[in-house]
Symmetry: C2
Subunit: 591 residues, 2 copies
């Protein structure tokens, strides 16, 4: 695939993005679709019947599934072919990611292994490390875990207390410390451990069999009970110097970049889970009758289905768009050799998009399972119904791979940093908006999807305007004012979501898909964009009222209202149309 | 207490309500405060240490706690004194309701017993039934359960299939059927069972020991695991004719009215739970440090505390206001004798307010526990931390005592019914709004809380306007258009909430409370009102755009905008001030 997206990370906020610049799920090729189908088949046939045993952490079960997944090539999508992998693109990881949640907790073990567990070696390992570890990780013979969190440091990853001290001989680092909440700890063979060398975070490959490695008991969790979560305790563990991953003292580069990829992948799993929750709930609502009719014939239920489908559409559009960016950033990396330097730069580029992605998808998933429970009525509270487990399982996604607060804050934080360094001409763009607002012509004669694109452009201007005012009036205080930063983050999140939905809908109109497909994307893009505008409006007002006063406040608010002007639309009517398609198809209607 | 509220049920929407017409928690008397303290003391001392055993449904544990509660008088608050009860007012049930959730699942058993289990006999029982059953229910010697739901009928309670057939001798009804999800079924002695006599719902007192009564296994639930939930199976159970509660064939009067009271009480428990979740989370956020500072010093965390406290304030204001109404409606009932007829009428009056109450409080609770988990970070997902259980436990509140959808739909449904029957001059009021809008003067020079009251009045007008348009343009279709009805319900919900918060804040300004107390209620009322206005704005627009077209749409939207005009306010600044008070006090700051 040759994408020429030509946008820097965060750059969408300053540009008029065209449909050609976004990748959409409708562009998946035959190989992707085959892979998706094969993954679903494997998960439903092999894991589906064993979900209860999985929940009980039946001995050896997950490892068995992993080995099967390894045989199918699913563990090696991003591992070079000559090291036992498949050398596939990012879209492949997305389609697989969407399907594994049908195996409930298996998805968590899978993600920890193939994502944050394996990728540090793929992207930051030495050729020797790759040769030694990747074939086993690809086949599932070896399982990996990622050990960053400590009891005292979660969000504050750099606050880790674990230490690594070079021994007198210079052959080994001696590691000490406790790692908290480590996924796969119960059975993993290889641990990507972060510890400090002279106060600076460094990443090490630690093997289970090394003396001094021990484990806490299994955590009793709200959900994803089938996954293993334990402390990893390191007491004078001697790790060979050649096991340092990435550069000495620059473990944060590995840690944070791998989390970027992790966030990107988490989002894929989240939209897959949301689709599954929708499907399960649609089935229930079609079968259960009250007042003599199926639940799905009630407007109160239909409106929920319409919302879930619409938000899933937005999140899915965002995930594939972000996949396009990540693919573009990573496709020229030669991961067979040493690519540490380039990998860091490549993955970092779209950090903002990865964070937006993660937040959006995990929150859409929460909507889907929460309304899923609600639509099940009292039965949603009963363990016999899968939605009950899905509700509990889903809750973790807003917490790990960086909490959603941390990911939200990263967005304006990174943008401001790039603005300061001159990488992104944010302030100039903000000034331009003021000028635009002075000149009269903001009206638009567009209709349909083109009008939505126009709305998106204005919403971007509003983001820039609000950010400009906040930067100007709060000055250095801004970077510590999380209230305002979160308002900005929310606006940017909504802009990214609505734009992704609209661009996809535009692109789809020219493609060879069914009429229903075209109808759905158009309606969902419209409803989604208008919903986003409502949120943007609130946060714009909040940020502006917090950062501006007196007469200038009135002027600015008048400008804001100009940018918010949009044609009237019947949102209830849109929901009715969307619900009709969703209920008819009995599933998320376009996949 | 002598309240002269003088408002019919739903009437708040048509009137200028004054602070004198609402009851507020600051007016609780010494007896209430003593009762509240005593209840907390009992629950924390006796039940607190046993919560884990309770979760395991340790044999006899709940019954023991119930007996203790009985000794303290807590089971007989609404039972007449000469039948072993305390003859207390509705405010007493609220303060007790607020405290019992500190005993986790005990609260559910307690509510089912004292509320929907006992009250059918209190309000609809014959003097003989009262004499026979109430003393035991007051002491805790006998435990009650309420059996309405069936496998095939939940929301559709009238669709029940259980039957009761008079025997040839005319002495007994023979009951057959299966009741689903019955709280306390595992150990209750007395079951208030609904079954149909000649197709008409009738309520019966069934005793555990009657031949033919059996039980399903315990349901495996997401939360409130300490409470017992089972099927109650009736096979040819012979129930004496004198065990009919209320009127033969009019069991729906008992069922629905008792649910009204149940909803009112559920809300009290929900706001108590929300305060507890806030408290637990504040404690955690004060102790846990990241980046060298306590979590509670991060704006991202503070803003959550501000929102929870504000929403809790609104819900609490609504609960006490509704308690005032219920007290007014019920205080002249002589429950020592036969009061069936009057009780039905009295309780029914404020059905709308009870539903609003239930929806609002249960959703605020969900906010509190969801953000509670989020603020705990990964630890919120771990069973060792009480917030994890609270999150699961809370989810039931949006499902039982009528799902929140059913309760929402009841609001416009009941209003329209009362409008049609001439009980509430809704349509005349809607017409007046149109006239008002024609005349210029809608501007207001008010400031502070008075301005908020003015905003509330306009919001009511907007509700009436939207309802009027919907009624006029959709005609008979309206009552089946749940999309539009839900929009109306949401507007009314927000109006009731914001008005309750504002009236309380006004009333408090003249009372002898601390400056911080006055400050908090003022800020919370303001933030709450502005948040409500945002929601009202969206739904007004949606309803109007669904019900109106073309030129008249523009006219109506212009009118809408007039009604929505409000002074600018710095919502972020408000959150900062509120958070400061909340974090300083380490708990919901005014109780
Ligand atoms: C089931 C499970 C599996 C996990 N698997 C792994 C794994 O495999 N490997 C691994 O390394 N870790 C893993 N984790 C850890 C997870 O990544 C952390 O829990 C997460 O990063 C949050 O850290 P914390 O729990 O310490 O919360 P904290 O960092 O204490 O955060 C608590 C709250 O404070 C907020 N907060 C923190 N700092 C700030 C700030 N500066 N500004 C504003 N708000 C802030 C957070 O958003 C959150 O709401 C797992 C956790 C769980 C529960
Ligand atoms: C733990 C627990 C304890 C309980 N305790 C008791 C008890 O002690 N006694 C008792 O009698 N019952 C009890 N219940 C039952 C409870 O009241 C019902 O579960 C509840 O009324 C919902 O009914 P349902 O589960 O059949 O859902 P359904 O009625 O099947 O509803 C499913 C979904 O459809 C929606 N829906 C249904 N009808 C309509 C409509 N007309 N329009 C729009 N939407 C609609 C609902 O809002 C819901 O979202 C308990 C339930 C649980 C889970």
């Amino acid at each position: 695939m040759e994408l020429e997206l030509g946008l820097k990370g965060g750059g969408f906020l300053l540009a008029d993005v065209t449909p050609e610049q976004v990748y959409i799920p409708e562009e998946l090729n035959e190989d992707h679709l085959q892979l998706k189908k094969m993954t679903r088949n494997f998960v439903e046939k092999e894991i589906g019947p064993k979900i209860e045993a999985l929940e009980e952490q039946e001995d050896g079960l997950i490892r068995g599934f992993m080995a099967q997944a390894g045989e199918l090539g699913l563990l090696g999508l991003e591992i070079p072919e000559d090291l036992g992998g498949m050398s596939m693109d990012k879209f492949s990881t997305v389609v697989v990611g969407e399907e594994v949640p049908r195996g409930s907790s298996f998805a968590v073990a899978f993600a920890a292994h193939t994502g944050i567990g394996t990728l540090p070696i793929v992207y930051f390992g030495t050729p020797e490390q790759k040769a030694k570890y990747l074939p086993g990780l690809a086949s599932g013979e070896k399982i990996a875990a990622y050990c960053l969190t400590e009891p005292g440091s979660g969000s504050d990853a750099l606050g880790a207390k674990s230490t690594a001290v070079l021994n007198a001989e210079g052959t080994h680092y001696i590691l000490n410390g406790t790692k908290q909440f480590i996924t796969n700890a119960g059975f993993a063979d290889i641990f990507l451990v972060y510890a400090k060398v002279d106060g600076k975070l460094t990443n090490f490959i630690v093997e289970r069999t090394m003396p001094g490695v021990s484990f806490g008991p299994e955590e009793k969790k709200m959900g994803i009970k089938g996954s293993s979560t334990r402390q990893v305790i390191l007491e004078d563990v001697a790790v060979p110097v050649e096991n340092v991953v990435g550069e000495l003292g620059r473990g944060h580069v590995v840690a944070f970049n791998i989390l970027n990829v992790g966030r990107f992948k988490l989002a894929a799993a989240a939209i897959g889970s949301a689709q599954l929750a929708l499907e399960v709930t649609l089935k229930y609502a079609g079968e259960r009758k009250q007042f003599g009719v199926p639940l799905s014939s009630f407007g109160a239920i239909q409106t929920k289905f319409a919302e879930i489908a619409t938000q899933t559409y937005l999140a899915e559009s965002v995930v594939y768009r972000t996949a396009g960016l990540m693919e573009e950033a990573c496709k020229d990396l030669d991961v067979t050799g040493d690519c540490r330097k380039e990998a860091g730069k490549a993955i970092e580029e779209y950090a903002i998009e990865c964070s937006l992605n993660k937040v959006l998808a995990s929150e859409v998933l929460d909507l889907a399972v929460d309304e899923g429970v609600q639509i099940h009525g009292g039965y949603g509270f009963i363990a016999e119904y899968p939605i009950e487990r899905m509700y509990r399982d889903s809750r973790i996604n807003r917490l790990f791979e960086g909490t959603n607060e941390i990911n939200r804050l990263l967005v304006p934080g990174t943008l401001l940093k790039r603005a300061m360094s001159g990488e992104l001409p944010l302030l100039a763009a903000a000034k331009n908006v003021s000028k635009d607002l002075m000149s009269a012509g903001l009206g638009s004669e567009e209709e349909g999807l083109a009008a939505l694109l126009d709305m998106t452009q204005k919403a971007k201007k509003l983001c820039l305007m609000a950010a400009g005012i906040a930067a100007q009036n709060l000055g250095m205080e801004l970077k510590d004012n999380q209230y305002v930063l979160l308002g900005m983050a929310e606006m940017i999140l909504q802009v990214y979501a609505m734009e992704s939905g609209v661009l996809r809908a535009l692109k789809v109109q020219d493609m060879d898909v069914t009429d229903d497909h075209k109808l759905f994307v158009e309606k969902a893009a419209t409803l989604g964009a208008y919903s986003a505008m409502n949120i943007i409006e609130q946060h714009a007002k909040e940020v502006i009222c917090a950062a501006e006063q007196g007469d200038s406040l009135s002027t600015v608010l008048a400008g804001m209202r100009k940018l918010l002007r949009r044609p009237n639309v019947d949102m209830i009517g849109l929901r009715q149309e969307i619900a009709k398609l969703v209920v008819e198809k009995g599933k998320y209607p376009i996949r």
